[in-house]
Structure formats: structure tokens, C-alpha cells
């Protein structure tokens, strides 16, 4: 769990979040290195989603730091304390456990929104209708993301009318369109069929090859085993085990939680 010099990705140190008397996340250290898929597993109520929210900024941690080292020649960003949209602009992208799409926009527009808001633009220039200098780049990114996820045929379909699996892909596309350094996925495989899961795994592998740091919160053991390079087992707010997915799932504790515990 050592970051050290030259580390790229997200580093979480001493993260803590309390709700009343319950400590949902208790002094967690976690590394999400670039070029790998890191999985966070654990039973319901273990604090996975709370941890996730503390990284995205949708929830405020009580203690601890979250930093992002996006690129070797770009400075490390202290994410803690930033509002969520600023974290998104700093290079963190995420999807939601409960799908959140822009139902009134088309698939292409959903992705485009992700691409064109990654940098702030003076609101006044938007109001006066001045042309966006990044327009061409935004367009290229949108087309590339649509292509990568196989969504091109659906580009002009209203996002609200899609089946669940495709919606998850669009959400992923919107996240990717921001060209993030780190990607956080909250149960991306839920609601997908086997074929779609295989496809998602393929996409995630390809993304790590591009140097993306991916954090996965997931229940599906097969999916985690297939895509993750490293897994952390979280129970009652604490990270109790880490290792390769096979090691973690083979452990006494995980077997008890996932097989015997039910």
C-alpha cells in the first residue's frame, strides 16, 4: 500500500466518515494506481459506496486526504475539500450505482456534455453565444467515445428510451468523454447480461492499457475476478484484506462473507 514517488492514480489516506454513532468508513488507506483495475468488495453496508462518495466529493469525509496524481508531468491534486464538479475537472470521472442519465438528451449529447464541461468556460461567453474554441476537439472526443463503446448506431436516440445495459454504457461514455485520469465505477455490472458484462470487461481492460486508474465497487465475483488486478475487502468500514482477486476470494473471511454468511 505504498505510493511513493512517481505514483500515478488516486491515493486515499486515513479516510474516515461518521454518520451519527456509526463509522461508515474507518481510517481507510487505499491506492488506485494508473493502468490497473482496483476492485473494492465487501458485504452490503461495508462502507464501499460511502468511500466512493468521499472520493468523488458527493459526500464530505470527516478526516483523511484523497489525492490524484494525474500524469507524470502534471502536479498532484489534493481532491479533499474540492466540490465534486472541481474534482471532475481535475480528472476524476465516475458513474452511479443508480443510473443517472440526461434523459432529455440524445446518447451523443449525453457524451458531449461530458466532453465539453471538463474545463470551465466563462458563463458570459456562453450567454452571448460566442463560439466555443474547443468545439472541434469536443466533437472528435464524442465521436471517438461513441465508437469505442459501440454506441455510434444509437447516437441520435433519446437516452431515456434505452434498456438498462445500454444506459450503463452511455453513463460510462459520458465519464470517458471527460478524458479522465481516474475512473470510479459503482456496480457497473448490475443489470447487465452476460454478453454485456463481457463487453464491459473488455472495455475496462482496454482503458487500463491506456493508463487509466480504475476503481470498481462491485458484487459480481466473476466480473471482479475477470477484470481486477487487485481487490480490497472492506468490512464494517475497514479494509481487512487486499491482494489479487483470487487470493482475496480464496480467503477464509471472504468465503464466510460471500458463501457461508448467507
Amino acid at each position: 500500500m505504498s505510493g511513493g514517488r512517481g505514483f500515478r492514480g488516486i491515493q486515499i489516506r486515513g479516510l474516515r466518515r461518521r454518520f451519527g454513532g456509526v463509522t461508515a468508513v474507518d481510517d481507510v488507506d487505499l491506492d488506485v494506481p494508473a493502468g490497473a483495475v482496483t476492485a473494492l468488495i465487501g458485504p452490503n453496508g461495508a462502507g464501499k459506496t460511502t468511500l466512493f462518495h468521499c472520493v468523488t466529493g458527493l459526500d464530505a469525509a470527516d478526516a483523511g486526504t484523497v489525492t490524484l496524481a494525474p500524469h507524470p508531468d502534471r502536479p498532484t491534486v489534493l481532491l479533499s475539500g474540492l466540490p465534486p464538479h472541481a474534482r471532475a475537472r481535475a480528472g476524476v470521472a465516475w458513474t452511479f450505482q443508480r443510473i443517472e442519465l440526461f434523459a432529455g438528451l440524445t446518447v451523443a449529447e449525453n457524451i458531449r456534455v461530458g466532453a465539453e464541461n471538463r474545463r470551465g468556460r466563462p458563463l458570459l461567453s456562453g450567454l452571448l453565444g460566442l463560439p466555443d474554441p474547443r468545439r472541434a476537439a469536443v466533437r472528435a472526443t464524442t465521436v471517438a467515445v461513441l465508437e469505442r463503446l459501440g454506441l455510434t448506431p444509437l447516437a441520435d436516440v433519446s437516452a431515456g428510451s434505452l434498456p438498462t445495459g445500454t444506459m450503463r454504457l452511455v453513463e460510462l461514455g459520458r465519464a470517458l468523454a471527460a478524458e479522465p485520469a481516474a475512473l470510479l465505477l459503482d456496480e457497473p455490472a448490475s443489470g447487465l447480461d452476460d454478453h454485456q458484462i463481457a463487453r464491459l470487461a473488455e472495455v475496462l481492460r482496454a482503458l487500463t492499457a491506456d493508463g487509466l486508474a480504475i476503481l470498481l465497487v462491485e458484487h459480481d465475483i466473476r466480473f471482479v475476478t475477470a477484470v481486477a488486478d487487485r481487490a480490497y475487502l472492506m468490512v464494517a468500514g475497514r479494509v481487512l484484506l487486499s491482494g489479487t482477486p483470487d487470493e482475496v476470494f480464496a480467503s477464509e473471511l471472504a468465503r464466510e462473507l460471500y458463501v457461508g454468511g448467507s
Partner: protein, 647 residues
Amino acid sequence: MFYAGLAINGLAIGCVAALAAVGLLATYRVTGVFNIAFGSNAVFCAYVMWQCVRVWHLPLAVAAVLVLGIVAPGVGLVLERLVYRPLRRSGASGLLVATLGVLVLQLGLVFLLWGGRSYVDAPSLLPAGSVRLPGSLTLPYATIVELCVVALIAVLLTFLLRATRVGLMVRAVVDDRDLASALVPADRLAAGGWAFGSFLAGVAGVLWAPIYHLDPYSLTLTVLETMGVAVLARLTSLPIAVVAALAIGIAQTELTAVHPAARWQGLVDAFHTNLFVLVLFAALMVLPRLGIRDSGSGGGGLHREGARRTSRVDHISRLPLGALSLVLALPLFFDPADLRASLAVPALAVVFVSLVVATGYAGQISLGQAGYAGLGALFMVKLAGAGAPWLLALFLGPLLVVPLGWLTGAVFLNKGVATHRRGLYLALATFATAAVVARFVFAQPVFVGGLVVSRPRGFTDDHWFYALELACLLLALLLVRSLHTGPMGRALVAMRDSETAAVSAGIDVRLMKVFVFACAAGLAGLGGALTTSAAQAFNPTDFDPVQGLVWFAAVAVWGVDSALGAVVGAAALVAVDVGTVSGVSSLLIGIGAVLLGRFPGGIGAAVRRAGDWAVRPVERPLTRRLSPAGRAVARAAAARVRERPVS
């Protein structure tokens, strides 16, 4: 002893307010709807009572039984069946607009049936006379009876809801009608709740009318103002509401004894006559965590179904745009008398467009545009009076409103109110803003006394001025266009559909909302400045807070996200007002707003749907490509998305 006497007078005022607040809260507790139309309902019942006794000469007791036993609950039952039940799934914004619609409709009815006249001879159910207290104080019987009624309602209802089986069932229905309907007769309970709420409104109206004049506006406003008491009680506690209302009433009369230096007297007077409005405003500023239950965010529920894809070239709106421009240009060839009436159209259209920006695009309900419009007008007049060239003042005045809109927006839009409670909160907050501005600025001679509004040379002729108005409207529409298309339009639609997702895409949602809200305030200011210039006089009644409610309902009817609809709506409103007796336009707007639940998105969306239907063959191949099973999945997904509250 002097202060004790004042306190007893205050008690009388407090009782009236408590009656309104308890009625409002009780209705809210048993129906789950914050019934803005409570006041108009009370007014309507009071007018019927007047009709029974003074025109038909029925005995008082018979009239009371007829009004309180049949008419009042009957109105509640009819409204529940025809208006609120079909809307039970449409979320808070839909219900809010419906209650607004009922308010506008009932006021329209009162105007149509009774000519909106006020009467001083409303029959009184309360005994005359008073009790002598030690120290030559007198306590009117009326106050005692009112106190008893208020206490009785508060105690009984609290007991009923907390400790009985029926109360439990009512609470279940209020909490989740769909879920509860599996276990209890939800429809009947809801109908009962509305009948009871409407009965309370009837009681309030019949008791008030003899104390105040029987007047369409004053009672409606009294209720709107006592919403502050309900907010103080966090929309839950009836006893707190009673105590707060009495305390404010007493404080109001005690303040009359305060005599500061002469120059501050006006301000103190404004304070004590408007204490309820101030309490509403202040309560909303400091007490964000209301027990408001509602299930739609901001203005989301108003246009979810009609939400349009922004970047698509909109062939359908081209045609109406052309036709509309022609119609708007027509008055240029009118004779002076008709042209005079038409001057109001572009000015009102700009105000309506500002509502489309705030509510339709930013998704933030704003009932306070009247306040910003009036401020724009006032700033313009002051600037022109200070020697600024009039054309400059016309734009500079509204620009000065922008920071004020920004300030109020920053306070209210990003208050820590849970997303799903925002609609009602914003409605109350924006209304309170307009009310405070109206009472503390537009009603104060210090600010509006001796204003001279004159158009400069070149624009004294109505034709030229109308042309200028059209140019301003065009400018407003152009600004609005960039809020509707391109990156900004996409970002706004994204924000309306899902704020959390918009944030994840890097959109600074808080800033964006305040920015758009401030732009809307500026536009409203421009509309107000034009209105005042057209009339060549600053009329505070043009910017009455109740006017803001009517405007909002009118824009909702034409479709909150349709700028062209807003322009047509403004023209239609002025035309109906000029062409018919007073009350007809309110009635029409009210009916339209009440029916909105069945035609989401309003007339604009209906036109758009018709247009979509016409161009549908182009889109069909995509759906056809899916297998029947695939289509079923797509339909189910679409239904799911529609049902999900936009948060």
C-alpha cells in the same frame, strides 16, 4: 395598560392569522399538498355566504349550514376528484402549479360572478359585544370564539393524526398514496382530507369576511402572508403555528407604539404593517429544513415530458416564429387607440420570457418575477431622473437588477434544502422576495413618490416606441436562444435531468443556477422598464406579488420551456384582458393551469408533440430495428425513466 390594550388588539389579528395558518397546515397534514389556494377558497366561500344571506335572504343558520356543510366540503371534493387525484404522481411542481391554477381560477370566478366588488356587509356568525376585563380593557367575544376555534382545530387534529387509526391511515396516504392504496382506501381518505381542508377554508373565510372587508384580494393575500407562520412551524406543528401567529399579531400592534425620529417613522410603519411578510422572508432565510414533502425538484415536473433535445434543428418552431413575427408587427399599422393597448404585449412578453429562463431552462420555480420587473422599472426611472440618457437607462436599470437577482438566487437556490423539497421552498422564497420588495419599496413614498416617467424625443410616438419594444423583445429572445442551444443549453438540460450527473460531468451546477436566475431577473427588469415606459407612469399595481402568481400560471400553461409560447401567451393575456370583462383571463389561465397535469408541458408541448408526430416517419426506422421483445424493453426503460423523480 396601554400595551395590554394593544396586545388584545394584536390577539384579534393573531387569531385571524392563526386560523389561516392552522387551516393551511391542517390541509397540508391531511392531504400532503401545500395549498396556496386556501385563501381563494376561503374568499369563494365567504362570497357564497354573502350571496345566501344578503341576496337570497336565507336565515343565517341555514346559510351557515349550506356553506360550511355543503359548499365548502363540496368544493374540496370536486377539486380532489378533478384536479388533485389525476396529479398524484406528478410531483410537487405539478401540484404547486395546480394549486396556483385553482387560486387564479377561483379569483377569476369571484370577479365574474360578483364583479370583484368588495362588500362591507358580510354576515357575521360571531356574537357582537365584548367582555369587560379589569383595567377598562375589553375583549371582544369574536376574538374569544376565534381563539377557541383555532385551539379546538389544533388540538383535535393533532390528537386525530397522532393517536387514532384513521390518523395513521391519513398519514400513510399523505406519505405514499400509491403504496398506501394497497392497504387502506386511499382515494376516499384523500377525498376526506380535501373536504376537511376546504371546510377549514370555508370556516376561515366566513369568520374573516365580517372583520375585514369581503374583498377578493385581501383575504387571499392574508393567507399567502401567513405562510410565514406555517414555515416557522416547519409545516408540521399546529400548536407552534398558533403560538407564532398570535405572537406576531401582538408584536405587530405593539410596534404601533414605537415612535422613532420622524424620518424613520415610515420604515417602522412598513415594519409593523408587514410583519407577516417579513417573518415569511426571514423564516425562509434561516430555517431551510422544512418538513416539506414533495417528490419533484425545482421546475422539473413542469416540463419533464416535454423536455426537448436542444441541439437538434427545430424545424417545427420556424413556422410559428415567422407567423408570430408578422402578428407582432401588425400593431404598427393599428390606429393609436388600439396600438396603445398593444404596447403592453412586448413588455409582458419579455417578463414571460424571463420566467421561461428561470423556470423552464434553469428548472427553478420563480413566483417573484414581479418584484424584479418592478425594480428594473424603478431603477430605470431613477437613472433617467438623475440625468442619464433614457435609452441608456432603459438597459442600465435592468442590468442593476442582475446583482440583486444573483444575491437572492445565491441565498435561496443553494440553500441546504434537500433536492426533493426544493420546489415548494423556492416558490415560497421567491414569492416572499416579491412581497417584501412590493411592501418595502414599491409601497413606500420615499422610493416611488413624485416619479416622472416620460419617453424621450423620438419615442413619444407610440409607433416608434412599439418598434423599440419589439427590438427589445428580439434581443431578449436572442439571449435566451444561447441559453437554449449549444453547450449552455445542453448543460442546462443536463442539470434539469440530473443534477448529480451534471456535477459528475464537471458542470458547476450551483454557479450555473444562480447565473441563469440572475439573467432571468435582469430580463424581468427589462420587461418592467418597458411596461412602465409604455404606461408613462410607475404603477405599483403592475408589479403586485399576486400578479407574479398569475404570470407564472400563464407561462406554465403555455409551456415553461417554450420562449415562443411565452410570447404568444403574453399577447393572448393582453388580448383577453382588453377584449373581455375582468376575470375572464384569470379564469382561462386557472383552467389551463389546473388541466396542466393532464397535458404536461402545456400548450407549447402539445404543439411540439403535434409537430413531432408529423415528422415521426423519419425516426421510425430506429425503433423498427428492435425486435418486439426489444421494443418492450425500450418501452419499460422509458417508463422507468419517466417515473423516476428528476433529482
